[in-house]
C-alpha cells in the first residue's frame, strides 16, 4: 500500500486556483523531492496536505495510510503521523518550546492508545535531540521560535520532527536560509529518520539540499501541475538547465 496517494488534487486560495490536478504517490521508505519555480504551488501543496483551513480543496482526493486525509482535521493528520516542516515557522511568544513538544508528543501517544510520556524521560529525550541539532540550552526556557534566527527556526522544525517521529515528513524549504553547517546537520537528521516505513517529501526550490538528501523521485511542479517526474538525476539536470527547460518542453 502507498503511504500517500494524491489523486487529481485541485485547490484554491482566496479565489485563485493554485493546484490544478496533482497526481503523486509516495511509497513507504521513499524520499520525494518536489521542485519548481516560485509560485508554482509547492508550498500550497504542503499546506493543503497539512490541513490549512483557508486553502480550499476544489477537487481530487488524498489517501494517507489508507485514510481519507482531506476529511481529517489538521490535528488528526498530525497524530496519524503527518508532519509539516514550515517554510516560515511562526513565533509564539508565551508558549514554551518544551511545553509544545511535550503536548504534541502526548497528543500523538494518546491517539495511539499509549500512556503519556514521563516528564523526566521526556526532558532527557529532548536534550539528546537538541544536542544532535546543536540547539543551545536557552531553547528550553524560550517561547516557540521566539527571537530565533531563520536557521534556528529551521533547526527547531527538525527537532520537532525528531521528537514526533512522523511516518511522513513534508519539509517545506527546510534548506533555505540556513548555512552549510546547519544544512549538513539537518540533512543528517532527515536521513536518519528515513527507514523502511517512514517517508520524506522535500519541497524545495533549489537543488542544494538534494546533494545531502538523495531523493528516490523528483517531480517538477509548475502552475499547479506536475510536469515531469524522474530520478535524482532530474534534479541535477534542472540545476544545469533551469526550470524553463521543463516548462518549455511541456508547452512544445
Amino acid at each position: 500500500m502507498q503511504l500517500l496517494k494524491i489523486d487529481h488534487l485541485s485547490a484554491r486560495v482566496a479565489g485563485k486556483q493554485i493546484l490544478d490536478g496533482i497526481d503523486l504517490e509516495v511509497g513507504p521508505g521513499e524520499v520525494h523531492a518536489i521542485m519548481g519555480p516560485n509560485g508554482s504551488g509547492k508550498s500550497t501543496l504542503a499546506q493543503v496536505l497539512a490541513g490549512r483551513a483557508d486553502y480550499e480543496v476544489t477537487g481530487g482526493s488524498v489517501t494517507f495510510l489508507g485514510r481519507d486525509l482531506l476529511g481529517m482535521a489538521p490535528e488528526e493528520r498530525a497524530r496519524a503521523g503527518l508532519f509539516l516542516g514550515f517554510q516560515y515557522p511562526v513565533e509564539i511568544p508565551g508558549v514554551n518550546n518544551v511545553y509544545l513538544l511535550k503536548a504534541a508528543l502526548n497528543a500523538k501517544r494518546k491517539a495511539a492508545g499509549e500512556p503519556e510520556v514521563d516528564a523526566y524521560e521526556f526532558l532527557g529525550l529532548v536534550r539528546q535531540k537538541m544536542k544532535l541539532m546543536q540547539i543551545s540550552e536557552s531553547f528550553l526556557t524560550r517561547g516557540v521560535n521566539e527571537g530565533f534566527s531563520g536557521g534556528e527556526k529551521k533547526r527547531n522544525e527538525i527537532l520537532q520532527m525528531l521528537v514526533l517521529e512522523p511516518t511522513l515528513a513534508i519539509l517545506d524549504e527546510t534548506a533555505s536560509g540556513i548555512d552549510i553547517d546547519a544544512l549538513k546537520i539537518v540533512s543528517e537528521r532527515v536521513n536518519s529518520l528515513k527507514d523502511a516505513r517512514r517517508s520524506v517529501v522535500l519541497v524545495t526550490h533549489y537543488q542544494r539540499l538534494l546533494n545531502y538528501i538523495v531523493p528516490d523521485r523528483v517531480h517538477v511542479l509548475s502552475r499547479g501541475r506536475i510536469l515531469k517526474s524522474g530520478d535524482a538525476s532530474l534534479a541535477l539536470e534542472l540545476e544545469r538547465r533551469g526550470y524553463d527547460w521543463v516548462v518549455g518542453e511541456k508547452v512544445a
Binding site: R79, F86, P93, L164
Partner: protein, 447 residues
C-alpha cells in the same frame, strides 16, 4: 461647611451629585479645607461626566447619576475580619498587610508599625501633625476634567493611609481595601498617599475586594510621589463583584532618575473606571506601566492613562493587554504628552486587545502630543481574534483546537504576567485570572 452652597445650578444637579453635596455639607472642617472647597466647587460646577465628555463617551453614568448615596459605614476591626480567600498573598508569605475598610485604615492593631524602612500613618493623623505636607500631596497634577472623581475624592475623603518608604524595603506591603456595607447605595472615598524617599525601594500592592451584603460605590484615589532615585513597584488589583462600581484615580509624580513600575489589573467589578495620570517632572524619570484588563460576562472596564514627559531624558513604556469575553466591554485610552523642552524623551505604547466572543467589544486608542524635538515616541494598537497562523502551527503539531486556543489566550497575557516580580502576587493574580478565561482547568494544568 457652606462654601459649596453658593454654587449656582443646584436645581439641575442629578440625585447622585446632590447626595455628594449633602455629604460635603456634613463634613467637619479640617486643616485642608481650602483645597477641599476648591475641589468640591469644581465638581459641582462641572457635574458628573456625561455624553459630551469625550473621555467618558463609552461609559455612560445615567443610571448611577439617578441614585443617591450616603457614606459607607466605617467598620471596626472586631466587626470586620476579611475572609482568608480575599487575600492576594498566602498567609505564610513575608508581606505586611494594612487593612482599609471603606477607606478607613485599621492601623493600631492590624499592622506592625515597624515594617522595615517605612513610616505609616493615617491621613487624619497627618492632617493634624503636618498639614503642609498633606496639602503638597493633594496639589493637582493638571487641569484635566477626566479627574472629576479624583476631585470628588479630595473633597470627601474622611481618612486614608500615608506610607512613607524611607529606604530599601524588601517586604511587599499589601493594602487590602475592603468594601462592605449592610445597605444599598453607599459610597466610600478611600485615599492612599505613598511617598518613596530618595533612593528608597518598595513594592506596594493595593488590592480591592468586597465582602458582606452590599458593595459600596468605591471612589478611590492614590497618589505616588517618587523622590530622586527611588524605585517603586505599585499594583492596583480590582477584584470586586459584578454588582459593584469602582472609580479609581491614580496619580504619579516622578523626580529625577526615579523608576516606577505600575500594574493595573482588572479582574473583577461590574463597572471599573481606572485612570492613571503621570508626571515625569525631572530628567531621567522612568515609568513602566502594565495593564491587564479582563472583560468577563457583563463587565465594563474603562482605563485612561495620561503620561506626561515634562523633563529631558525621561522615558515611559506602556503595555496594555485587554481580553474580552461574554458581553463585556474594555476601553483603553492612552495619551503621551511630551512638553516643550523634554528633549530626548522616549515613549512606547503597546496596546493589544483579544476578543473571545462576538458580543464583546474592545476599544483601544493610543495618542501622542509632542511639543519637543529629538524625541523617540512609538505607539501601536491592535485588536483582534486569535492569530490564525499561530493556531494552525499548534494544530499541525497535533494539539487539539481547544488546547491550542487556550494556550494562545494564555500566551497573550504572558508579557504582563512575566513582568510581575513578586512571585506570590503573580501566582495569585494568575489563579484569579484563569477562572475568567475559557477552560480554566486546562489553564491550571499549563502553569
Amino acid at each position: 461647611m457652606s462654601a459649596a452652597a453658593h454654587i449656582s445650578g443646584a436645581a439641575s444637579r442629578s440625585p447622585a451629585l446632590r447626595s455628594f453635596e449633602a455629604q460635603w455639607l456634613a463634613r467637619e472642617p479640617d486643616a485642608i479645607l481650602p483645597l477641599r472647597e476648591q475641589a468640591m466647587g469644581r465638581v459641582l460646577r462641572l457635574g458628573l461626566p456625561g455624553a459630551r465628555d469625550e473621555s467618558w463617551r463609552y461609559t455612560p453614568l445615567r443610571q448611577l447619576a439617578a441614585r443617591s448615596f450616603v457614606d459607607a459605614p466605617p467598620a471596626t476591626e472586631e466587626a470586620i475580619a476579611p475572609s482568608a480567600s480575599l487575600s492576594l498573598l498566602g498567609v505564610s508569605e513575608r508581606v505586611a498587610t494594612v487593612l482599609m475598610v471603606n477607606g478607613h485604615p485599621l492601623l493600631p492593631a492590624a499592622i506592625d508599625l515597624t515594617i522595615d524602612g517605612t513610616e505609616i500613618s493615617s491621613l487624619k493623623t497627618l492632617a493634624c501633625s503636618d498639614p503642609g505636607l498633606l496639602t503638597r500631596f493633594l496639589a493637582p497634577l493638571s487641569d484635566a476634567e477626566e479627574t472629576r472623581f479624583g476631585l470628588l475624592n479630595k473633597a470627601l475623603f474622611v481618612d486614608g493611609l500615608y506610607v512613607k518608604v524611607k529606604s530599601r524595603t524588601p517586604t511587599p506591603i499589601v493594602i487590602l481595601h475592603l468594601a462592605t456595607a449592610d445597605r444599598p447605595d453607599t459610597v466610600s472615598h478611600p485615599r492612599v498617599i505613598i511617598e518613596a524617599a530618595p533612593g528608597a525601594h518598595a513594592t506596594i500592592i493595593e488590592h480591592h475586594v468586597r465582602q458582606g451584603a452590599y458593595t459600596p460605590l468605591c471612589n478611590s484615589a492614590t497618589h505616588l510621589a517618587l523622590r530622586r532615585g527611588a524605585a517603586l513597584d505599585h499594583y492596583r488589583v480590582f477584584a470586586s463583584d459584578a454588582e459593584s462600581t469602582h472609580f479609581d484615580s491614580l496619580d504619579i509624580v516622578q523626580e529625577r532618575d526615579s523608576t516606577c513600575r505600575q500594574f493595573t489589573i482588572v479582574l473583577g467589578g461590574g463597572l471599573v473606571r481606572a485612570t492613571l495620570e503621570h508626571l515625569a517632572s525631572e530628567p531621567g524619570a522612568n515609568l513602566d506601566s502594565y495593564s491587564l484588563l479582563v472583560g468577563h460576562e457583563q463587565r465594563h472596564v474603562d482605563c485612561v492613562n495620561v503620561v506626561r514627559h515634562a523633563a529631558a531624558g525621561t522615558r515611559s513604556r506602556q503595555t496594555a493587554r485587554s481580553i474580552a469575553s461574554g458581553e463585556s466591554r474594555v476601553i483603553f485610552n492612552s495619551k503621551v504628552v511630551v512638553d516643550a523642552g523634554a528633549v530626548r524623551a522616549e515613549s512606547q505604547q503597546s496596546l493589544r486587545g483579544l476578543l473571545l466572543s462576538p458580543t464583546a467589544e474592545i476599544d483601544c486608542r493610543p495618542q501622542l502630543e509632542i511639543h519637543a524635538d529629538e524625541v523617540k515616541c512609538a505607539h501601536g494598537a491592535s485588536i483582534g481574534r486569535l492569530d490564525a497562523d499561530m493556531l494552525f502551527y499548534l494544530l499541525s503539531r497535533g494539539l487539539d483546537r481547544e488546547t491550542a486556543q487556550t494556550l494562545l489566550v494564555y500566551a497573550f497575557l504572558g508579557e504582563v504576567l512575566a513582568a510581575m516580580t513578586v512571585p506570590t502576587a503573580r501566582s495569585a493574580i494568575e489563579s484569579a485570572l484563569i477562572t475568567q478565561l475559557p477552560n480554566p482547568d486546562l489553564l491550571r494544568s499549563l502553569r
